[in-house]
């Protein structure tokens, strides 16, 4: 009798920020990630202490990504705040992180001293950058460091053609699908997105984005929804999107030459 085995998923977009800590204590939060059948979760938090709480409990499950925000309100101010740089340097000394992000930077935000330092730190520590950015900002990141590894949060919230252009132009660009719904409906992958997935089978990965505490309840829902539409794709592509691309991103960042 065939077993109903859940497809393993790496959720590339989890936050465990301060307002979630009391609602879901770390044990409960880790329980949610496990219950969703996640193979791993990229966790970044405001503040980073949230990520460390989960990592201490489940290092095999939680993949720490260092967020430059010490609290939520820094989303729109952080690129002008020089104190971010020593904060990141201090945290990175722990040696546990695989990326820096998810940060918000648009257009010429990338030219600020803080973002330039972030790109430098990612290069020095062999980390990927989880960028919630427009295409312009992503291009500026690659202009600064052509060998950077970038995970494009929400696939830039842009359309299929723009994503195609970016993935074609930048072989070290990956894209998460967090908070996007248009690529599948009722378990059927949209034809344009299917073509994109097939053209770039090694770039996409799922994500939830737990940007408020309530959305922790959505992690299981998101995983179930993802498994539903993944069934519409060939098995190898399913494995790539579900987990292999995320793992390859980590390896790619670690193996880069400085």
């Amino acid at each position: 009798m065939a077993q109903d085995v859940k497809t393993a998923i790496v959720d590339a977009h989890i936050h465990y920020s301060h307002d979630a800590w009391s609602v879901y204590p770390p044990e409960e939060a880790v329980g949610i990630l496990r219950d969703a059948g996640l193979r791993m979760a990229f966790v970044s938090s405001s503040s980073d202490d949230g990520t460390l709480k989960l990592y201490a409990l489940a290092p095999e499950l939680v993949v720490p990504v260092l967020r430059p925000y010490r609290s939520r309100g820094e989303i729109s101010t952080w690129t002008g705040d020089a104190s971010v740089i020593p904060y990141l340097e201090e945290r990175l000394a722990a040696g546990i992180y695989v990326g820096i992000g998810e940060f918000h930077a648009f257009g010429d935000d990338v030219e600020t001293d803080v973002m330039q330092a972030v790109i430098r730190l990612a290069r020095e520590h062999r980390l990927f950058l989880h960028a919630h950015s427009d295409a312009d900002a992503v291009e500026r990141i690659f202009a600064t460091d052509p060998d950077a590894r970038v995970l494009w949060a929400h696939s830039g919230f842009t359309g299929v053609e723009e994503i195609r252009r970016m993935l074609s132009s930048y072989p070290n660009l990956w894209a998460d699908l967090a908070f996007r719904s248009e690529h599948a409906r009722n378990g059927v992958v949209d034809p344009e997105w299917r073509a994109l997935f097939e053209e770039f089978p090694d770039r996409f990965m799922p994500g939830t984005d737990t940007f408020t505490p309530e959305r922790w309840y959505y992690v299981r829902e998101q995983a179930a929804w993802t498994r539903e539409w993944l069934k519409d794709l060939p098995p190898e592509l399913v494995e790539n999107i579900a987990w292999r691309n995320a793992e390859n991103l980590i390896q790619s960042a670690k193996s880069r030459e400085n």
Binding site: I75, F179, E182, T212, E214, Y217
Partner: protein, 354 residues
């Protein structure tokens, strides 16, 4: 823009999925059923227990008190005709389907199809009126058909509940006719509040049209945990319930012709991740009489509503998920003006149309 918020009352808009819509006998039956405790399993509760005329057809409580405290605020029943969606989460696309939920909810009237059908059959006056309205004895109808017919009768009456004309309507009509109204009808403060409402406040982007609702779903910056620590999924869950329901406009219990039903909005609804925590935009008609506010009754009064939107916490929204709301930064006069305008949307108690 202002004129588009009227005229009031709107022309009758019969529910084509309910063959009893507008039928006088069904309306009378529906009214009687609404106030009859025999509609509940144990005879202890009426629809009117929670939908009281003295509370503008709501209950005045933060969260509905059925057989226990429920998770959502009791909606004030008025101006229901012509709506696309019903319930805070839009789980129904017609009023009779929505009326079925409290009948079957174990925490409300707590019936099931069989117990309700038995009750209608066993109570001679109810069985007689059922026959008069439907043309069939409840004995001859399957229990589910009895449930649907009872719900359709309840809906037929609820459709007649309309809020009266208000100071705003007099102002709006005068504007449409290029007249003015005296300040004692529509104050200077209310005029400034109206300007905020349709202008920089952007309230009218959601609270639009004669019923002051776009009949869609939105995240209003209200946390959506329930009291037991779980989460109210809002529209995301509502779409799931809608799809699972046999009582849709396209379903076999609907009286709508299939060609028309095929154009119903429910056929085109798509569930997305940002439906999580969205709730139906409520009408603002009679708003001063329907406190407390929001899907969970967590905002106590109108000044608090104005303050909520004035200081809205953008951290509750996704950076790319909310384009309408932002803190308004009103001063005390601005807040008072907006409240003064909202109060002009309230008139006398809800009445049934003749």
């Amino acid at each position: 823009m202002i004129i588009a918020h009227g005229p009031w009352p709107p022309a009758p808009d019969p529910d084509i999925s309910n063959r009893f819509s507008g039928d006088d006998d069904a309306i009378r039956f529906g009214r009687a059923l609404f106030h009859d405790a025999r509609l509940s399993a144990d005879g202890s509760m009426q629809c009117a227990t929670c939908h009281e005329a003295r509370h503008a057809m709501g209950d005045g409580k933060p969260r509905a008190l059925g057989r226990r405290e429920l998770d959502r605020n009791t909606p004030a029943l008025a101006n229901l005709s012509g709506r696309r969606w019903f319930g805070w989460d839009g789980r129904s696309d017609n009023l009779w389907a929505q009326s079925i939920h409290p009948i079957l909810n174990p925490d409300e009237l707590a019936q099931d199809e069989n117990s309700l059908a038995r009750r209608i059959i066993e109570e001679a006056d109810l069985a007689r009126t059922y026959l008069e309205v439907t043309g069939r004895s409840p004995v001859d109808d399957p229990p589910r058909e009895v449930l649907v017919n009872i719900a359709k009768s309840l809906a037929a009456w609820q459709e007649t509940l309309v809020t009266p004309r208000t100071a705003f309507d007099r102002f709006r009509d005068a504007l449409a006719e290029d007249r003015d109204v005296p300040d004692n009808v529509f104050s200077r403060s209310a005029r400034r509040g109206l300007k905020l409402f349709v202008g920089e406040g952007r309230c009218s982007l959601c609270h639009f049209g004669p019923n002051f609702s776009n009949d869609e779903f939105h995240h209003a910056g209200v946390p959506h945990f329930t009291r037991n620590g779980s989460v109210d999924p809002g529209r995301h869950g509502g779409i799931g319930k809608y799809r699972a329901s046999p009582y849709r406009r396209t379903g076999k219990f609907s009286d709508e012709d299939p060609e028309s039903a095929a154009r119903a909005p429910g056929n085109f609804v798509v569930r997305s991740h940002d439906d999580w925590g969205r709730f139906r935009v409520p009408s603002l008609r009679n708003v001063a009489a329907t406190a407390p506010y929001m899907h969970d009754g967590s905002v106590a009064d109108l000044p608090a509503v104005v303050r909520h939107y004035d200081e809205i916490n953008m951290n509750l929204f996704h950076e790319d998920g909310e384009s309408l709301l932002r803190p308004l930064g009103l001063d005390a006069t601005g807040r008072a003006d907006l409240e003064a305008f909202l109060r002009t949307l309230t008139g006398d108690p809800v009445t049934a149309t003749p």
